[in-house]
Point group: C2
Chain length 340, copies 2
DNA sequence: TTGTATGCGTTATCAA
DNA sequence: TTGATAACGCATACAA
């Protein structure tokens, strides 16, 4: 149903010059006589001409485009990081293409191929964990990929992010310091998600190092969502031994837990402490304000942009960047009640 | 820094067949002998070949791509609608390209051109209001655009959305029914934003039809954000005559107001009622749960996808779709206190 | 079933 | 300062 769009050729005819001149007019205006330029530009205007990106990319062999693939857009934390990433790219004349995967590896693979096919000069990926085949593919295509949202000291692949395990361990230590020994964890799905599993590890490490038995940690894995957090909370409090503190894999799950606690008339933090992870705005407006782990999302996006652009443009090797996180104590974490 | 990616030609050589055969293998596998196919496919695998989208689009003269341009990704409501839109597109073999504008018209124009240049077969745009020049450009390019998030009965341009004015008017009527006469409105910026101005109109209409003076409405325009809502609330309650009910242009602003009310020890809804618009998840987890206008975001995205795909693929004319909204009474709206 | 040849809309090289 | 013209990577009509 699309009717043919005007081409360089059409403009050239309308302005009675060659296509080469039109191209120059658009790309190097000062290489062409003012008179000719005016003629060409007005033809461009009146025809509503717009260069064909594909043809341009093919002829010029570069796109100044960088792709970003995130698990979901329905998550403020990715949205923020990306916004900063994009701003950084714009600063350097690059365009960002976003795609989301609904946390499904096969869709991620599809999106990676799609962005590569579209000529992305580089890719921003979340987390290390994916089919090695994909890394080989990117290698073959000569498309550099920057991993972000994680910093795994044990991985040889460079990344810009934070240490999910250490961050969660620090928070868990705090919780334990408050006297809690009956812990539970509402986790994001850990399969194919190194951030989620690292956070789980962090809690286990904290327990062990505090002399608790890591096996006593009650853990529920669930999908991303407020309702999901609520349901998980329900199960935790209804069946089995009641925890006195519940750590959550992210703020959204935590807020869901908080809501259900209110519905169940379970007082937070008097009856049970709840903590989150990410420190999105939601955490501050939750009631009571949520104790959580602060992650510098915008800073992360910005740094990732710098590193990737620098690599794509100048060939600077990608160097890992470790960003700091810190527990933010608000009101949902309190000392364990005597007798609990 | 990108090194050359393998091309159809490379694959053809590796498999010792012609490029045409490789192309067929990829696009119409059953038109080629199994033996040849296997040979080709393994060459594709081992080379890590991926078709060049630009070249493909140019040769095939279609992209099966649809662009979507939204004001911001940092807003759950757009995120949800888009997610549904994308799912619908996938169902029909289309790919979605997203871009965001930070609510800036000049960036929107830039993004529109960029997506058109990238060969988008169609575009999804938010709201009617933009430079007529842009509509002419799209016309010249033969790229159909579907307007969404609004349904303006007075506009000749078709759209899939809801009537922002009527929706807000209905909510304002409810508020007035509760006995409120001193109303205030925390609005998104109305310049270049027909949704925001329609909502303002809705409140004014409601006041007039209830015999109140629409000029008495105190109105503050502010940018999108929780903090922004908080600041606006502060101004409203600190300076000038105190309203007994505050309507907000969206849930995020409302939640900001709610937070500041708590900080100021102003009880909601006892001292002041607050209502939002959109009914994003946030509204349910806010405390107290927020009274707001429900908008069927996912349904809207889905329908928009259907309509646009049907138009692009089959030439079906775009027909407007009016989606229903309804006020959701939760806990932040209560009858006005006697003596207020 | 497979191969040959042409065109898609640009950029860039080389002449004029 | 301008104009021919050869790539660029792929799909496809046509031929074999």
């Amino acid at each position: 149903m699309k009717r043919p769009a005007p081409t360089l050729h059409d403009v050239a005819i309308a302005a009675s010059v060659s296509t080469a001149t039109v191209s120059r007019c658009l790309n190097f205006p000062d290489q062409v006589a003012k008179q000719t330029r005016d003629k060409v530009m007005s033809a461009v205007e009146s025809l509503g001409y717009s260069p064909n990106f594909g043809a341009k990319a093919m002829a010029a062999r570069r796109t100044n485009t960088i792709g970003a693939i995130i698990p979901t857009m329905e998550n403020a934390m990715f949205a923020r990081g990306l916004e900063a990433f994009q701003e950084e790219l714009r600063l350097h004349g690059f365009t960002m293409l976003v795609a989301s995967t609904s946390y499904r590896p096969e869709i991620e693979e599809e999106q990676i191929k799609s962005l590569v096919a579209r000529g992305a000069d580089g890719l921003l990926l979340i987390g290390h964990e994916r089919d090695p085949e994909i890394y080989r593919f990117l290698e073959a295509q000569g498309v550099p990929a920057l991993i972000t949202w994680v910093f795994d000291p044990r991985s040889e692949r460079p990344s810009v992010g934070f240490d999910n395990r250490a961050a969660m361990m620090e928070m868990a230590m705090k919780v334990i310091e408050f006297g809690h020994t009956k812990l539970a964890f509402i986790s994001a799905v850990t399969a194919q998600n190194d951030r989620a599993s690292a956070r789980l590890n962090g809690i286990q490490n904290a327990m062990s190092s505090a002399g608790l038995n890591a096996n006593d940690l009650r853990c529920i894995e669930t999908n991303y969502g407020i309702e999901e957090g609520a349901v998980a909370f329900d199960r935790l409090m209804t069946n089995g031994p009641r925890p006195t503190a519940i750590l959550c894999g992210n703020d959204v799950l935590a807020v869901g837990a908080l809501r259900r606690a209110r519905e169940l008339k379970i007082a937070v933090p008097q009856d049970v402490s709840i903590v989150g992870f990410d420190d999105i705005e939601l955490a501050q407006v939750a009631y009571p304000p949520l104790t959580t782990v602060h992650v510098p999302h915008r800073e992360m996006g910005r740094r990732a942009g710098q590193v990737l652009v620098d690599h794509v443009k100048n060939g600077t090797p990608i160097k890992s960047v470790l960003l700091p996180t810190r527990p933010i104590l608000r009101e949902t974490l309190a000392p364990v009640k005597a007798g609990s």
